[in-house]
């Protein structure tokens, strides 16, 4: 059970003089839920951005399922099996629920001009399949949405938008899911509900591994197997939740910045 799905060594990302990630060693085991916590600006989102190829690392190596993926463009990272959500929900608000989910299904879509334009039967078969997949995912999160598949996402409340982001990330059956503060903009109850739903989704993609960035320590306690605490781009502490909150260094880092 301790096969490493993701392994980062000496990962560094500088923005000018600022080291947003500083010689970071983080690994994720297959099937676990890893919590990534730390004060604001400690480099959590940057870590996701470097892994998914939005930023190139300044130095260091990212190995995913045995392959070196450091510095690959985001498209290649996606095809290798990593999907993510964004801290500030980045859905296409004017597009429909179905469209947004299908963007995540890109690796299965036939994008050839000929099949899309002239051989519509081919396209329609894929379309039916896409509808089925989207409906299956949505009905696990909020069955009401299935009937509103062609409504613009912008009409939906925050929790539904988060759900759709999760569907978009899961529809391509990734091996590793990166969740960047899924609770942002939601109430405690909604957050609890959503996290339960996400954990249940694990069965949709077998052996799903999750890295979760979260400020809500309640959520971290409930769902994570292990935590990594970042501070100024460096790993401050690593261990299970109870050890994390009991650790004086972690407490100081948090109390020094903002109280959780």
């Amino acid at each position: 059970m301790s096969e490493r799905i993701l392994d980062c060594t000496a990962l560094t990302k500088r923005f000018g003089g600022l080291a947003a990630l500083n010689a970071l060693d983080i690994h994720v085991d297959r099937g676990e839920v890893l919590g990534l916590v730390g004060p604001n600006g400690s480099g959590k989102t940057t870590f996701f951005n470097v892994i998914t190829g939005i930023y190139r690392p300044t130095s260091g190596v990212v190995t995913f399922q045995g392959r070196d993926i450091s510095g690959l463009p985001p498209q290649r990272v996606y095809h290798s099996g990593i999907a993510r959500t964004f801290q500030r929900s980045r859905l296409c608000l004017e597009l429909s629920i179905f469209d947004n989910i299908m963007i995540g299904n890109h690796k299965r879509l036939d994008l050839g001009l000929w099949n899309n334009i002239f051989r519509r039967s081919r396209f329609e078969a894929q379309y039916e399949e896409g509808m089925e997949r989207a409906a299956r995912l949505l009905s696990a999160l909020n069955p009401d949405l299935v009937a509103r598949m062609f409504r613009p996402v912008g009409d939906l409340p925050m929790i539904d938008r988060r759900r759709i982001e999760i569907c978009r990330a899961l529809v391509g059956r990734p091996s590793l899911l990166l969740l960047d503060e899924p609770s942002a903009g939601m109430t405690h109850d909604e957050t609890r509900q959503l996290m339960d739903e996400i954990l249940n989704m694990g069965s949709y993609s077998d052996g799903l591994t999750i890295v979760l960035i979260e400020h809500e320590m309640n959520v971290i306690r409930r769902v994570t197997d292990r935590c990594v605490v970042l501070n100024f781009g460096q790993k401050l502490f690593e261990g299970v939740y109870d050890d994390v909150v009991a650790n004086p260094v972690v407490q100081e880092a948090y109390l020094g910045k903002d109280v959780e």
């Binding site: 996606y78 469209d99 299908m102 963007i103 994008l111 329609e124 379309y127």
Partner: protein, 387 residues
Amino acid sequence: MNQPRDFVIPGPVFCIGLAVFAAIYLALFLSSESQAAILVYMAAGGMVLLLNNMSELKPRLSEAIKGNERLCNRLAVAVVLALTAAFHADHYTLFLIGTILLYIVVVLGLNVQLGFTGVINFSCASFFGIGGYTSAMLLSKTSLPPLLALPLGGVCAAVVGSILLLPVLRTSGHYAALVTMAFALLFRIFLEVNDALGGPQGVPVRSMSLAGWDFGSDLVIGDLQMSFYVSYVLLGLVLLCLAFSFVRRIERSWIGLSLDAVRVDETASACFGVDVARWKITAFTIGNFLSGVAGALYAMMLAYISPANFTFGDSLIFLSILLLGGVGNSWGVVMATAVVVLVPEKFQVIQEYRYLIYSALVLLMIVFRPHGILPRKTRIYRPGEAA
């Protein structure tokens, strides 16, 4: 349709009624000469649109149109055919109709670029012109069948457009706009100094001919004498139907989805495998191809083209049509093109001020109705599907 209502007019009847109304209105508008009458028609048209917007007719109308998409497409073709028949001897009106049809093809191409993909292009009139000059040169210097000039005009426009690909991909926003503006100006200068292309005076273009059917002379069938423009209107209509259904199919496919994804959020889309550069190239090329094809036929219809037909100002007109009609919406493009071409031609008073009026209209639209006359709906993938 299946909800109980006081009185229910079946959708198809609604659509046919609308088409008949549109045909009569356009026929009256096109046939009137007096400025007073035209002003009255324009006011009446505006009133009808406004009333429709406020009344409860609107949701039913849009439901009827959505539920009978194929019928509506056919009715639109029928309206153009009816107008062509009604004005079969009237050179000027037929020329206007032909111009509208070809302009729509250009703006549909622009729609793929800007409306779907968000690639800005301030030089679409230049690509329209490249098509035109291609057909002028092919018809005068080679003995290729004239019909071939249409696809070749499109190919030339697309190939020349690929020069701009690198800057359009590398830079974004304002810089891409500047690059295409610079190209439009360069294109004009290139035409003016190039004697082989007729310089500033321009060149004559031979007319289309199809299997012995000469588009350059009036048509005589029995006792019926028809303007030679009838041939151009018919061929233009075929071209428009092809372009329209092509753009529709792009929209309703994974390609359309990818183009939209690139426009709305490049970075997030890239994280889901969307190849941003590929789709920008595809959209830019398709748009320029459509402009080029339309330009090739337009040049034959004009019979004489010069650099003044393809200026930066014309590019701005194409862009303003797109903004007025509803960025992304193909039917909006059709309506807005008709308005922008017809109104200054018929209502001569504003001819001189037309740029002023377009700019004012575009500004008003951006402020009060940023999504155009007919805003784009969310994508459906098959006709008639519920939203």
